[in-house]
């Protein structure tokens, strides 16, 4: 009974922590700039984001995003401006609503297919009740291990 209470309390605490962490909060301007620039590709780097890149070009793009945020533009508007200027190429995470949506679908399909195949191989139904070893069995086992390890030296 005590165990059950501990388990229930642990699950409650976990859920509470997750809800607390995920509670909505209004992002600050800096957080918005970070979030937007993390999605934009630095045009002069090897696959680095505008947020991460130390290059001059990336610095100017960060300043531009900060300016747009100050002007009160929404995240979507800012993103659209960069897409218009550079094409979809500037997004490090391809948009779902185009035929590049395939790249999002494929991992989901892979994991779904894999889980289906795996589950088909796993014996269905409730977990079987494996008998716990009895005290006598445990004692016999201990004795045997001790004996054989003694023989082993």
């Amino acid at each position: 009974m005590k165990t059950r209470i501990v388990i229930a309390a642990a699950f409650l605490a976990l859920a509470a922590a997750l809800v607390l962490a995920a509670r909505p909060h209004e992002p600050t301007a800096d957080e918005r700039v970070d979030r937007i620039t993390a999605e934009l590709r630095c045009p002069v780097c090897q696959g680095l984001s505008v947020k991460d890149s130390p290059s001059e070009t990336a610095r100017q793009m960060r300043d531009l995003v900060a300016e747009r945020v100050r002007e009160g533009k929404s995240d979507a508007e800012i993103e659209a401006e960069f897409r218009a200027a550079y094409g979809d190429w500037v997004l490090l995470s391809p948009p779902i609503a185009s035929w590049s949506g395939l790249v999002w679908l494929a991992p989901l399909a892979a994991i779904a297919a894999g889980l289906l195949l795996a589950t088909a191989r796993v014996r269905g139904g409730a977990p079987i009740n494996v008998a716990e070893p009895s005290a006598a069995q445990v004692a016999a086992l201990r004795e045997r291990v001790a004996r054989e390890e003694a023989a082993e030296g």
């Binding site: 165990t3 501990v6 388990i7 309390a9 642990a10 699950f11 409650l12 605490a13 976990l14 922590a17 997750l18 607390l20 962490a21 995920a22 993390a38 590709r41 090897q46 696959g47 680095l48 984001s49 991460d52 890149s53 130390p54 001059e56 094409g87 979809d88 190429w89 997004l91 490090l92 995470s93 391809p94 035929w99 590049s100 790249v103 494929a106 991992p107 892979a110 994991i111 894999g114 889980l115 795996a118 589950t119 191989r121 796993v122 014996r123 977990p127 079987i128 494996v130 008998a131 716990e132 070893p133 445990v138 086992l141 201990r142 045997r144 291990v145 001790a146 054989e148 390890e149 082993e152």
Partner: protein, 666 residues
């Protein structure tokens, strides 16, 4: 005779011996001819010696700046320091393939001498495969496209020097060889697997014979990847360690399948299940190492690592296709003999968790593969230019990683076949309580990212299961053998190294997960243009630009910012710089990193006044727990060594019927 002539001759002689060895080993395997086997062994041993001679002559030519050799002229200069001259062997394509070939020749010699002594027929057939692969690489390296010893008619006064990024940090001495060792050693399990298929052995002899090889190559690959992340962190100057760059992806893919294999192999050993699957994983791991080499060496994808491109692409592609066609063909042909002996147990059994874990690892690998190739495919099909970078991979791989952390805590706690309710309660009550404590601690310290909170919870969960396992193991040994706690602890490693070494590896992975989650969620940035004497405050640190000076060294010119760091109990100096090598068009950033167990202060000299050195733009990141990543990598390595060391004697308990029952209750 110059070093270049010696090396070139040695490679050609080695090619002849590899061809001879392939034939001799094939004859020995077919006719069970002992004399042919001896001949193949000599060919393997002498061939290995010759390739080593070739590699050493290249190192000698680099160290003595012998610019009559094209490779040396392109990748070395008189000013290059000796260490970076010598490790110039892996600074570009031709030398890298020479190193690769040398390791492969070593592995071939190992199979020829040690392998064939243990299991003659299986290993002799595997030796044929090893020799055939070695022949391919020696052919590759003696074609003009990849020949490291191509001569120049007229030696230049001085060479170009190595790529700037490759002479900026001593980790260059460690990261590529570790990774190459990991890559190449996957060929040994592959050769045995192929041999087992060729001979039509239904059993798992190949797997038992190469278990240690698989573990060692996996560990080298893993430690090599972490060393690469560390190098990238210390050199590339953006304050990160992983960018989902195509070469990083190429390295992580075989590691993912190899990790899946190390676990599913236990299902085959214990339960005689998943035979075809394990063969497929070994083949996939090996093929992915070749695919990675092809992708990054042929110039089809751009990467920080594609420092050289060459015409060997089609040859590597042909090699890869041959391997895939042969292996898959053999697998289909022999699938009739690979029937499993029974069914997987209940969903809450260890083998079922291993199976689910395999599914997640495969999905993770396929995502990396798809994400790496998709821009290429999209451009070829529709001409569309698109990018797949960090944000995409993070979105897909982080949930998969969390699932793997969870399974890592669950799997080792479940018995084979299935678990009873009592077992579940006994195994998971304490870890669940720890998981809750971990999540609450994360929220209490201000973590808001859900993925990070989950990582803390799962890290606490896994760590608790490991501690619980050790505590029970020690208690059992103390009860049975009246040992002291410390002796019992050491004996767990000595007697069941594979199991407890594996737990140490899991703890290393926990450290890595904590480092990634924390550094991703809680890094703080700041950037400011400072005149000497001015300061910038960030996350409790105060940074003062005390001086900006230019430094001249024989091989490079630098501008260095001297920074004084105070606050958070530190009082140190950091020196980020911009370094100009004669061979590169633009300056390379060299970050100043103040490493600590709590956080790293990462400083970059982003720009400076080129006329009077009167101001500098300093970019700074405070990156928490990032050093735990390197520490975690080291712990993984130590755990792998413990797991690979042979036990003093095969454990007797294994043959006992109740051996798989959890540690005896009190």
């Amino acid at each position: 005779m110059s070093a270049g002539d010696l090396g070139a001759a040695a490679l050609r002689a080695a090619l002849f011996l590899a061809l001879w060895g392939t034939g001799a080993a094939a004859y020995a395997a077919w006719r069970r001819d002992a004399r042919a086997l001896v001949s193949a062994r000599i060919a393997a041993g002498v061939g290995f010696g010759l390739v080593v001679v070739a590699a050493l002559s290249m190192m000698f030519a680099l160290a003595t700046h012998d610019f009559t050799i094209l490779y040396v002229a392109e990748n070395n200069a008189r000013e290059t320091p000796t260490l970076y001259s010598i490790i110039g062997l892996w600074a570009a394509l031709e030398g890298s393939i020479l190193l690769w070939t040398a390791i492969l020749a070593g592995a071939t010699a190992y199979v020829a001498f040690r392998g064939t002594a243990a299991i003659p027929r299986l290993a002799t057939t595997a030796l044929v495969v090893m020799f055939a692969m070695l022949t391919f690489f020696l052919l590759l390296i003696t074609t003009p496209a990849a020949d490291p010893f191509v001569r120049l008619a007229l030696a230049p006064e001085n060479g170009n020097g190595p790529n700037a990024l490759l002479q900026n940090h001593p980790l260059m001495a460690l990261h590529p060889p570790l990774l190459y060792l990991g890559y190449v050693l996957t060929s040994v399990p592959f050769a045995y697997a192929l041999s087992s298929l060729i001979l039509g052995e239904g059993g798992d002899r190949w797997l038992v014979a190469t278990r240690r090889f698989a573990l060692v190559s996996w560990a080298l690959l893993g430690v090599g990847i972490v060393a690469g992340a560390w190098w990238s962190y210390a050199v590339l100057g953006w304050g990160g360690y992983w960018a989902w760059d195509p070469v990083e992806n190429a390295a992580i893919m075989p590691w993912l399948t190899a990790t899946a294999y190390l676990h599913s192999v236990m299902v085959e050993e214990k339960r005689r299940l998943l035979r075809t699957w394990n063969l497929a994983l070994v083949i996939a791991t090996f093929a992915l190492t070749i695919l990675g080499t092809f992708l990054t060496r042929s110039g089809v994808v751009n990467s920080v690592h594609s420092f050289t491109q060459s015409a060997i692409g089609p040859l590597l592609l042909g090699y890869l296709v041959t391997i895939l066609v042969l292996s898959v063909g053999l697998l289909l042909w022999r699938s009739g003999r690979l029937r499993d002996a029974g069914a997987i147990g209940a969903p809450l059994s260890r083998e079922a968790i291993f199976l689910f874990q395999n599914v997640v690892f495969m999905a993770a690998m396929l995502t990396v593969l798809l994400g790496t190739l998709y821009p290429l495919i999209a451009e070829a099909v529709s001409g569309a230019q698109l990018s797949i970078g960090g944000p995409y991979f993070d979105r897909v791989e982080i949930p998969l990683g969390l699932a793997l952390l969870f399974l890592m805590g669950v799997g080792p706690q479940l018995p084979w076949h299935g678990a009873s309710r009592a077992t579940l309660e006994r195994q998971f009550t304490a870890p669940l309580a720890c998981a809750a404590a971990g999540a609450l601690a994360a929220v209490a310290t201000g973590t808001t990212a859900t993925a990070a909170v989950l990582t803390y919870a799962l890290a606490a969960f896994v760590a608790a299961t490991v501690v619980q396992e050790f505590a029970r193991g020690i208690r059992a040994r103390r009860a049975l053998h009246a040992e002291g706690a410390l002796i019992a602890f050491a004996n767990l490693f000595r007697r069941s190294g594979r199991r407890y070494g594996g737990y140490v590896v899991h703890l290393g992975i926990v450290l890595v997960a904590l480092a990634i989650a924390t550094s991703q969620a809680r890094t703080v940035d700041a950037e400011k243009t400072l005149a000497p004497g001015e300061t910038l405050a960030i996350a409790g640190y105060t940074v003062r630009l005390s001086a900006l000076r230019s430094v001249h060294e024989p091989q490079r010119d630098s501008v260095v910012a001297d920074l004084e760091i105070t606050g958070n109990g530190s009082g140190s100096q950091l020196h980020p710089a911009l370094v100009q090598y004669p061979s590169s068009a633009s300056a390379v950033g060299s970050p100043g990193v103040g490493a600590g167990i709590r956080d790293d202060l990462y400083t970059i000299l982003a720009a400076y006044d080129q006329k009077a050195l009167s101001w500098a733009t300093i970019r700074m990141r405070v990156i928490p727990l990032v050093s735990w990543l390197w520490l975690g990598g080291a712990v993984v390595g130590v755990g792998a060594v413990i797991a690979a060391l042979p036990a003093p004697r095969r454990r007797i308990a294994r043959q006992l019927p109740l051996a798989e029952a959890p540690a005896p209750a009190k």
